[in-house]
């Protein structure tokens, strides 16, 4: 099987494997053919988020992708490439801190029902692999954009019943946050954990509207102002 890997140039490797994950093959190439091949990996069972790369221009976890003849493997986009398939995740990781994605006050006296737990069960499956930042066309042009996984985390913590003050998060996601998203849904399509940051961002928009915020791009349409939306119903 022949595959190509993006390094300083696109390099071709020939490997004798069948039904193998990309991570298995990368390890095999490193040990048997080229010890300078550089990539990240960890748990090999899709929970640590270390081995995200792009195959044929789509984000995948190397440990859960079965390699095909002719595949082209590249590093994630929208992050500086350090070497070969390794990128610097610092910028995207920092968005979690900027989004204030945590419980603002710990009380310890709230008990959650099954229903409450299910509200953000899937959002709490996030492994911070960064696939969504690589696929995000907004993050590509605006690296101040909070971005998909941080906004999913913001939704997780605003929807959590244990959160007794959502204002802090809602305030901080207004600029370079929920309204900057184009709702293109690319993040959803590449998420290995089936999380839809786009859907979470939409929910955060409603929450923002309820807190009195509105889409700043509409603010320019003076004639539509005054609390009435396009269909004539009052907006929040």
């Amino acid at each position: 099987m022949k595959i190509k890997i993006q390094r300083e140039t696109l390099e071709e490797f020939e490997v004798d494997v069948h039904d193998a994950t990309l991570l298995t093959v990368l390890n095999k190439i490193k040990v048997e053919q080229d010890k300078t091949l550089t990539f990240s990996s960890g748990c090999r069972s899709s929970v640590c988020g270390s081995c995200s790369v792009r195959v044929n221009a789509k984000e995948v976890l190397a440990c859960s992708y079965k390699l095909q003849e002719g595949d082209v493997v590249q590093p994630l986009r929208n992050a500086p490439v350090i070497r070969d398939l390794v990128v610097d995740m610092k910028k995207s990781y920092e968005t979690n801190r900027r989004a204030k994605a945590w419980l603002s006050r710990i009380t310890g006296d709230v008990s959650l029902s099954i229903e409450h737990e299910k509200i953000n069960e899937i959002q709490s499956d996030c492994i911070l692999c960064g696939s969504c930042y690589s696929a995000c066309p907004v993050f590509a042009v605006n690296d101040e954009f909070l971005g998909p996984f941080a906004l999913t985390r913001a939704w997780k913590y605003t929807s959590d019943k244990r959160q007794n003050e959502t204002k802090e998060i809602v305030d901080v996601i207004q600029t370079n946050g929920v309204w900057s998203c184009t709702l293109c849904n690319e993040c959803t399509l590449v998420c290995p954990q089936n999380i839809s940051s786009k859907a979470d961002i939409e929910k955060l928009r409603s929450k923002s509207a309820m807190a009195g915020y509105s889409d700043p791009s509409f603010a320019n349409f003076g004639s539509f102002g005054g609390g009435v939306s396009f269909d004539g119903s009052p907006s929040f």
């Binding site: 300078t36 929970v47 610097d88 610092k90 945590w102 008990s111 099954i114």
Partner: protein, 524 residues
């Protein structure tokens, strides 16, 4: 060479490291965490089954029962006081995790859901589907963000710096730049995880579980203990060694041989189940885990990750098919010796988590007790390291000139091959069953490899993100630890818990103690 100071420096950003960081911060210390990966990528994220606490949410339970089960599983070599502390603090530990936002699964009565793991007399493990470790780790990371704790990524621990048996910092290799950096601190907490990757591909663990902190602690003069006790998890996927959680058996999964017969009590402690599987396979049987009768709804609700992994790695769907399994190395009970304050024999050097030995697991850890350990002792280590730092003035110590970490010449011996062979050999000879001969043969090989380690090295000469170099450094740490594991295993002429000697199949009163070892060999 950079130089930078903090009161408390924590090496490792898994569950233990982050809990320690939070509690040291709360105690008013300036805290810095360094990790060789990123903060959410450690071994903790792989913990599936749960965290033990006698809450009695799913059936009658008590702290006493938790203590009794833990003591029993430890097979006589554990510190009863430490176990008492662990188990009695457990309900508070889980309550704390719940209060900071961990998304535990719930019961109909809006309580934290609990399930039964091996060796437990009650459903005691609090869980979040089969993502318990992941959700705990990420929530801890979010708390560290809230506390604005500095976490420095991708720095590999080279040395714990100490003088006159007192710690003053660590030196690390910055993986991105290839620069050696020095971080000064009044106290240092090692939270770097276990050494199960000694078994290479015969381990459920992530590739970085290479005992770096243990190896460095020994070099710094700390002692380690109980290195021979290595837990084999009964159910890893046959081809990939990927873990299938014990909760699958807790929920009623069966172990079957090729004839479709059950051959053991699936809910016995891990050492017993692993041995039963070992002897069944010696008869030529293939071993399977059967959870088909639990039904698709249950599997998707409680074990979603297992279904995904079985499909991916074995091309089978556990809803309809048997899961081919084998036992592989999963957890190392041994670790850095600490006192009841989590401090090592080196002043100001603390250790916590799988790399440490708080003497609560003894000869065999119970499922659900390691996530618990990292919360209870993580808090203790963090608080104590902060207190220690308050009482200390930063030492004025001249910086050492760093050693070169690799040479320009090309290696004659490929360490990747040695590492793989060693893993095979350990699985076969230092695995579920051992004999004096199998251990001695392996020690001979290890000694031979240690002698020619100077012929091994790195082919990649780049300073930028050199994973060849990192893997070589990890390999050398493992190689160092492998001798200790073997010395301890040879010394212990008895069978106890996870250490099973076919030449001494009974527990012996003469060995009812811990094996403590330092740089120079077995000391007690």
């Amino acid at each position: 060479m950079q130089n930078s100071k903090s009161d408390v420096l924590i090496v490792g950003a898994g569950g233990a490291g982050l809990v320690a960081a939070l509690s040291a911060h709360e105690s008013g210390a300036t805290v810095r965490v360094i990790t060789k990966e990123y903060a959410t990528r450690s071994q903790t994220c792989m913990a599936q089954g749960g965290i033990n606490a006698a809450l009695g949410n799913a059936g009658e339970d008590s702290v006493d029962a938790h203590i009794a089960n833990t003591l029993k599983s430890a097979h006589g070599i554990a510190n009863a006081k430490a176990i008492e502390l662990l188990c009695s603090q457990a309900p508070d530990a889980v309550e704390w995790l719940d209060s900071i936002g961990v998304c535990f699964s719930r019961t109909e009565e809006s309580k934290i859901a609990q399930r039964t793991l091996g060796g437990a007399s009650a459903p005691r493990a609090c869980y979040a589907q089969d993502y318990t470790g992941l959700k705990i780790l990420h929530t801890l990371y979010d708390r560290c963000n809230e506390a604005n704790i500095e976490i420095l990524d991708e720095k590999f621990l080279l040395n714990i710096e100490s003088s006159e048996n007192s710690v003053y910092g660590v030196s690390v290799l910055d993986i991105k730049s290839g620069e050696i950096e020095f971080y000064e601190a009044k106290s240092v907490i090692i939270a770097t995880g276990g050494y199960s990757r000694l078994y290479d591909k015969y381990s459920t663990n992530a590739k970085g579980t290479t005992g770096d902190g243990l190896a460095c602690a020994i070099r710094a003069g700390a002692r380690v203990s109980d290195m021979e006790f290595i837990q084999f998890h009964p159910t890893a996927l046959k081809n990939s060694s990927i873990l299938i959680s014990e909760s699958a058996r807790g929920a009623g999964g069966y172990l079957l041989n090729s004839k479709g017969e059950r051959f053991t009590n699936e809910l016995a402690p891990r050492d017993e189940v692993a041995r039963a599987i070992h002897y069944e396979s010696m008869k030529g049987e293939e071993i399977f885990l059967d959870i088909r009768h639990l039904g698709e709804k249950f599997i998707d609700e409680e074990l979603p990750q297992e279904r995904k992994l079985a499909k991916l790695y074995e091309n089978i769907d556990p809803v309809y098919d048997l899961i081919p399994i084998k036992p592989v190395a999963h957890y190392t009970m041994g670790g850095i010796e600490v006192n009841s304050e989590s401090q090592t024999s080196v002043s100001g050097l603390f250790a916590v988590g799988e790399c440490a030995n708080h003497r609560v697991h003894g000869a065999n850890r119970l499922g659900g007790n390691s996530l618990l350990e990292l919360v209870v002792f993580g808090k203790q280590a963090g608080t104590n390291a902060a207190e220690y730092a308050k009482s200390k003035k930063q030492k004025q110590v001249p910086l050492r000139e760093p050693k070169r970490v690799f040479s320009d010449s090309n290696p004659e011996v490929d360490f990747y091959k040695v590492k793989e062979n060693l893993g095979e050999l350990f699985y076969k000879n230092v695995g579920i069953v051992r004999t004096k001969e199998s251990l001695q043969t392996t020690l001979d090989v290890v000694n031979k490899e240690r002698q020619r380690v100077n012929l091994m090295g790195v082919e990649d000469k780049s300073t930028i993100y050199n994973t060849n170099l990192i893997e070589f450094l990890e390999f050398q740490n493992l190689l160092e630890l492998s001798s200790l594991v073997l010395s301890c295993a040879i010394f212990r002429e008895e069978s106890r818990g996870a250490h099973y000697r076919e030449d001494f199949t009974k527990e012996s009163e003469a060995f009812a103690s811990h094996t403590v070892i330092d740089r120079d060999g077995v000391v007690e």
